[in-house]
C-alpha cells in the first residue's frame, strides 16, 4: 500500500513539474515556432540564481525566488531579441542557436559555481506520514505552487486580451498580423512568459533537487516527450501528457529494481507508442502547414 502512495506522490510532483516546463515550451513553439532547446537551461539559471542570492547575499529564499524569476525573464527576452529574432526565418539556425545558448549557460554556470553538487535549504521543514510514507511539506508546497501557477496562466491566456493575442498568433501568424497584432512584440512577450515559467519551475523545484551544471539535460528530454505526447501547442495535452509520463516514471522507479536506469526509456517508449497510433499527439492541434 505504501508503494502506491509513493508512486502517487512522486508521480504527481514530477508530473506537475513537467507540465509547467512543457506548457512554457509549447507556448513559445506555438507563437514563434521556436524549438527552444535552451528552455530548461533557463530553469537551471533561475535555480543557480536562487542559490547565489541566498548563499552569497544571505537573503531569505522567497525574495531570492522573485529576483531569480525576474532576472531569468529579462535574460530570456534579451536573448530572444538579440540572438533569435534576427534569424527567425531560418529554422535550422534558430535550432542550433538555442543549443548554443544552452551550452553557454551550462559553461558559465560551471565556471562560476564549478561542477560540484549544491543544494538550497527547504522553505518549510517537516513532514507527515500517510500509510507509513513520509511526505515532506516542501513537496506539497511545490505541488500547490505548480497548480496555482498553471491556473493563473490559464486565466491569463483565456480571460485577457493579451492572452487572446497569444492564442491567435499561435493559431495563424499571418492572419494575426493582418488583424493588427504586433506579432514580433507578442513573440517577445511570449518568450518572456515561457522563460518565466521555466524559471518559476526552477524556483519551486530547487529545494527538492541538486544543483549541477548538467541539471538541464534530463528534464529537457522529458519535457520534449511530454510536449510531443500531448500534442504541440495544446495546453491540455501538455498537462495530461506530463502526468502520464510522470506517473510512468514513478511506477517504473518504485516497482522494478534498477528502475532508475530505464525510467526514461519506458516513458519515451510510451510516447513513441502513442505517436504511432496518433501522429499529432493526444490533443494535438494540427498546424496549418506553412508552404
Amino acid at each position: 500500500m505504501s508503494l502506491v502512495v509513493d508512486i502517487i506522490i512522486s508521480g504527481v510532483i514530477s508530473g506537475s513539474i513537467y507540465a509547467l516546463l512543457a506548457i512554457g515550451f509549447s507556448l513559445i513553439f506555438g507563437v514563434a515556432r521556436i524549438v527552444n532547446i535552451a528552455h530548461t537551461a533557463f530553469y537551471m539559471v533561475a535555480a543557480y540564481c536562487i542559490y547565489a542570492i541566498t548563499n552569497y547575499l544571505g537573503w531569505p529564499v522567497v525574495p531570492a525566488m522573485f529576483i531569480a524569476v525576474i532576472f531569468s525573464v529579462i535574460l530570456g527576452m534579451v536573448t530572444y531579441k538579440l540572438l533569435l529574432n534576427p534569424i527567425r526565418e531560418h529554422e535550422g539556425a534558430v535550432l542550433i542557436a538555442t543549443i548554443a545558448i544552452a551550452m553557454i549557460f551550462e559553461q558559465i554556470m560551471s565556471l562560476i559555481f564549478t561542477g560540484t553538487f549544491l543544494s538550497v535549504p527547504k522553505l518549510v521543514e517537516g513532514f507527515f506520514a500517510v500509510l507509513g510514507v513520509k511526505i515532506f511539506y516542501q513537496q506539497l508546497l511545490t505541488l500547490c505552487a505548480a497548480l496555482a501557477i498553471m491556473l493563473v496562466l490559464l486565466l491569463f491566456l483565456f480571460k485577457t486580451k493579451f492572452g487572446l493575442a497569444i492564442r491567435s498568433t499561435a493559431q495563424d501568424r499571418e492572419v494575426a498580423n493582418l488583424m493588427g497584432i504586433n506579432e514580433s512584440y507578442v513573440a517577445m512577450i511570449t518568450m518572456g512568459i515561457s522563460v518565466g515559467l521555466a524559471a518559476v519551475t526552477g524556483a519551486i523545484v530547487v529545494p527538492l533537487t541538486i544543483l549541477e551544471p548538467h541539471m538541464w539535460n534530463p528534464p529537457l528530454i522529458m519535457m520534449m516527450a511530454v510536449v510531443v505526447l500531448g500534442g504541440l501547442g495544446s495546453l491540455k495535452g501538455s498537462f495530461v501528457g506530463a502526468f502520464i509520463l510522470g506517473f510512468a516514471e514513478a511506477f517504473v522507479v518504485f516497482v522494478f529494481p534498477m528502475g532508475a536506469f530505464f525510467k526514461g526509456s519506458v516513458a519515451l517508449s510510451i510516447m513513441i507508442l502513442v505517436l504511432i497510433i496518433r501522429p499529432e499527439g493526444l490533443f494535438g492541434v494540427y498546424f496549418e502547414e506553412e508552404r
Binding site: 539556425a93 553557454i104 559553461q107 565556471l111 510536449v227 510531443v228 526514461g264
Partner: protein, 346 residues
Amino acid sequence: MKLILFYLRKLFAVVKNEVIVLPSRVAVIFFFLFILLLPFFTDDIYILRIFTLASIFAIFAASWDLLSGFTGQMNFGHALFFGVGAYSAALLNLHLQIPPWGSIPLGALVGVAAGLIIGIPSLRLKKTYLALTTLAFPIILLGLVFTFPGFTGGELGISGIDKLAPTRVQEYYIIAVLMLGLCTIMWAITDSNTGIIFHAIREDEIAVRASGVNTTRYKLMAFCLSGFFAGIAGGLYAHFMRIAGPSTLEVSLSFQVVIWAIFGGAATIYGPIAAVFFLYPLVEFMHVLKDYRILMFAFIVLLVLLFMPDGLFRWLRDRVEEECPRCKVRNIATRKICRVCTAQLH
C-alpha cells in the same frame, strides 16, 4: 597507349575547363591533397589523432545531412546510428572475433536496421514531432545499455577491441581514405536523381507524391542510407578508440552533429564535412583556453549563425561564386559574363 593518352588528355581538359575555373572545386582538390599528404608533413600523434577523429565525425555529419538536410526529416537522435554501429562492431569483434574489416560493415548493416526502425514512425510524423521523437530513440537504447551492464559494459562501455591497424599513420590513412570515398559517394547520391527527389521531399512532399513518386520508399531509403554511413562512422570510432561506451549514444553527440551540419550549411554535403574539419580541430587546439573552450565554441557558433544563418561554407561559396541567371552554371564572382553561355552576370 593511345587510349591512355586520350584519357590523360581528357582528364587534363576537365581539370582545365571545369575544376580550375571554380574556387570551390579548387578548394576540394586542395582538401583531398591536404588529407592525403598530412602524414608527410607531421608525424605528431596528437595532430594525426585529431584529424582521424575529424574524419570519422565528418562521415557522421555528412550522413546527418544526407537524411535531415536533404529530405528535411529532422533527426535529433542521430547518435543512435553512431552508437548502434559502434556497439555492434565492438560486440561482434569481442565475442565472435570478427576482424575490423568485417565488424565495421556488419555494424553499418545494424545501422541500416536502426534506420528502418526509426524510419517507420517517421512515415506518419511531421517536422517537429519527428525531430522530438527521434531524440527519444538513443535515450531508450542508453537506458537498455545501463540496464544490462553484463552484456553492454554499462557505464564503462566495451573495451579491449582490436586495433584498426598496427600504427597510427596506417589507421589515419584507412580512416581518411574511407572518409574521402564515403563522402564522395554521399555527394554522388545527393547529386543524382535520388538526391533531387530528396530535395523535393523537403520542399513539398505533397507535390512530390502528386508527381507519382513513392515518397515513403524514398524517405525510408534516406533513413537507411544515413544509418549505413553513420554506422560505419560508429564502427570506425569504436575500433579507433578501442572502446564503445555510452558517450556514443548521448544527447550531446546528437546535438553536436546538428551543430556541425547546420553550421557548415545544411543540404550541401560539403558544408558539414568542412564544418567538422573547421570546428573539431579548433576546439581541440583551443585547449590552451582550458575551461573556456566550450564556451568559446558556443559563442563562435552563435555569432557565425547570427550573420550567416544559411551556414558558413554556403555563405563563403556564394561570396566567391555566382550562378549564371540564364544557364544556372556556376561562375567565379570576378567574371563579367558566364563562362558557358556568355550571358551577362549580375
